[in-house]
């Protein structure tokens, strides 16, 4: 903040000094040109007087014109020719214009340089502020499961509860540890994404197979939560993406759907895909808690948790859908979410570029 202020003040001082300097320079050049023109006029007046003397001494006008080409003799009078006078005035105007343009160009170039530097500094400050707030948010996110873990441990130590109650506390602690582990994974993933697309591959991926593998990983959990997952994806559909990124996207979207279903207790998740022009669309619908329609875009921001406490043991970290959005952007695709309101379920629409072989 302080360095930005210093830069602003220095830039302002530089601009002010430069404007004064340029104004002085233009003024000085103008005076110099006027003085030069005046000197020339005096010289021409001298030539005219000499020509007049020669004329009166009997020299022929042609001879005088040969000797003094800028002097015109007519009706026995020698004077500066209108053409020379006009050339003198034109030269003066042209010089003034040149100095004005040069001065303005200099100021413009200076202004542009300052704007470029300011922009770079602002971008850097923005990155630093983002990193700061990211760190603050990350540490904040960790403190709640950590507090829960500590509380359970201290409860065990303080109260020595009977085995059934102790079991509840142990399960809670295991879930807290799992929650923190998921957070570490997601934070690392999102940090990698922040650095850009260095490792991102773009290749055709068969959608049904990729989605099927993720569903298989989550099937047991879904069964325990009384959630049915139905997938209707044509075997031929392929998209362009990084295979690992597609896997992470599907896992996060399905984890999110399971979390949205946890407070409801049971429900369904339906996946349908279709080709649409040069793209492939995958819709993931759940019958979970849904969200206020206006909250749709906010879902994909970092650390947005519309149902933070989760329920039934599921906890969001606030990073899952942010990662989905970034990975979809890297795949030149997009993602959007819609819900008709709380309690109405939600649908997520993922769109990838279709693999070249199957574009319609």
């Amino acid at each position: 903040m302080k360095s930005t202020r210093v830069f602003q003040l220095t830039a302002l001082a530089l601009v002010l000094v430069s404007v004064v300097q340029v104004a002085w320079w233009v003024f000085d050049q103008r005076s110099y040109t006027q003085r030069n023109a005046q000197t020339l006029r005096t010289a021409y007046a001298g030539q005219a007087a000499a020509a007049q003397a020669l004329l009166e001494g009997g020299s022929r006008p042609e001879r005088i014109h040969e000797l003094l080409p800028n002097i015109l003799v007519s009706d026995g009078h020698a004077a500066l020719s209108p053409a020379a006078s006009a050339a003198l005035a034109a030269e003066q105007v042209s010089r003034h214009r040149q100095y004005a343009w040069e001065g303005a160009f200099f100021l413009l170039a200076l202004g542009l340089c300052i704007a470029v530097i300011a922009r770079a500094l602002r971008a850097e400050a923005h990155v630093l502020a983002e990193q700061d707030s990211f760190l603050a948010l990350v540490s904040h996110q960790f403190k709640t499961p950590l507090a829960s873990l500590q509380l359970s441990l201290e409860t065990l130590a303080l109260r020595t509860p009977p085995p059934p109650q102790a079991r509840v506390l142990i399960d809670r602690m295991l879930a807290d540890v799992a929650r923190m582990e998921l957070m570490v994974t997601q934070i690392l993933e999102s940090a990698r994404l922040e650095r850009g697309r260095a490792d991102f591959r773009s290749e055709p991926v068969q959608l049904a197979g990729a989605v099927g593998r993720v569903i298989a990983q989550l099937e047991e959990r879904a069964r325990q939560a009384q959630v049915s997952i139905a997938s209707d994806i044509e075997p031929g559909l392929s998209v362009v993406s990084d295979p690992l990124a597609l896997d992470v996207v599907m896992r996060n979207v399905l984890e999110n759907a399971l979390a949205a279903l946890a407070p409801v207790g049971r429900g369904s998740i339906a996946l349908t895909a279709r080709a649409r022009g040069d793209e492939v669309e995958l819709a993931v619908r759940d019958s979970g808690v849904g969200f206020a329609t206006a909250d749709g875009p906010r879902l994909f921001e970092k650390f947005t948790r519309l149902h933070p406490g989760g329920g039934g043991g599921y906890y969001g970290t606030g990073l899952g859908l942010f990662i989905v959005r970034r990975l979809m952007e890297l795949a030149q695709g997009r993602v959007s979410a819609h819900s008709d309101g709380p309690g109405q379920g939600a649908s997520f629409l993922l769109t990838w570029p279709a693999a070249p072989g199957q574009r319609s």
Binding site: S139, H140, Q141, K143, T144, P145, L146, A147, S148, L149, Q150, L151, S152, E154, T155, L158, R159, R172, A175, D176, R305, L306, H307, P308, G309, G310, G311, Y315
Partner: protein
């Protein structure tokens, strides 16, 4: 307001993290408190609109209206139920924000169970003292210098006829000072009696509250007659004012 301390004080726990809420609730129950729970600010306010409790354990980072907002709204409504904030942010600036919002104490996550229970007990004890010290008709009202303070209603009428709404901290400080009419009360004693212990980063906070009391009740706050500063020590309250 009830004059006798309830047998089992009720605590409202407002925490959106179900695990942490469950842990807090179980431990409070094990200590003999009655416990109610809310998972967000709106739920807490709705619950408090229809019921009362002896203490609110309030998470700061809640979905929707946050803990500070809940506390502010309660104070605006004249609800003086003590609030113990739980928060993931524990730096002094955040603490001050919490206490300025009307909180009584502030505990940063992760916290020690014993410390949490100790703080709950300390807040309830302070309020027990306040209520019992304002229990009789004689102790419920304080008259000085044309001012009249009703400790039970947290209201006052100032010397110029102006009606005043007191915060619970202002009322508590006034109570402590009035109980020691004519004696010097140190800043540390005021902190200990009103806030408990190391809640505030400095004793200067007490000075700010005294300034607020002077503004409310002194005809000339710059030359106080009732709330006198004893340099380097604390304050002396004179019911009858300086001669």
């Amino acid at each position: 307001m009830s004059t006798e301390a309830p047998v089992a004080p009720r605590v409202l726990v407002v925490e959106d993290d179900t695990h942490l809420a469950a842990g807090v609730i179980e431990n409070l129950r094990a200590e003999g408190y009655e416990v109610s729970a809310a998972s967000d600010g709106e739920q807490a306010l709705a619950w408090l609109a229809g019921a009362g409790c002896a203490l609110i354990v309030l998470d700061v980072m809640l979905p929707g209206i946050d803990g500070l907002g809940v506390c502010r709204r309660l104070r605006e409504q004249g609800n003086n139920t003590p609030v113990l904030f739980l928060t993931a942010r524990g730096d002094p600036a955040d603490r001050v924000r919490g206490l300025e919002a009307g909180g009584d104490d502030y505990l940063a996550k992760p916290f020690h169970l014993q410390e949490f229970l100790l703080r709950v007990r300390a807040i309830l004890r302070r309020w027990d003292w306040y209520h019992s010290a304002s229990a009789t008709a004689a102790t419920a009202v304080l008259s000085f210098g044309g001012n009249e303070v009703d400790f039970r209603a947290f209201r006052a009428r100032a010397w110029n006829g102006e009606a005043q709404e007191l915060t619970e901290k202002e009322a508590m400080i006034l109570k402590v000072l009035a109980e020691h009419d004519g004696d010097i009360v140190s800043r540390e004693d005021l902190l200990e009696k009103v806030w408990g212990y190391d809640v505030f980063p400095s004793t200067r906070t007490v000075d700010n509250f005294i300034l607020r009391l002077r503004k409310r009740f002194e005809a000339d706050p710059a030359n106080p007659r009732h709330f006198l500063t004893v340099w380097g020590v604390g304050y002396r309250f004179l019911k009858d004012g300086t001669p």
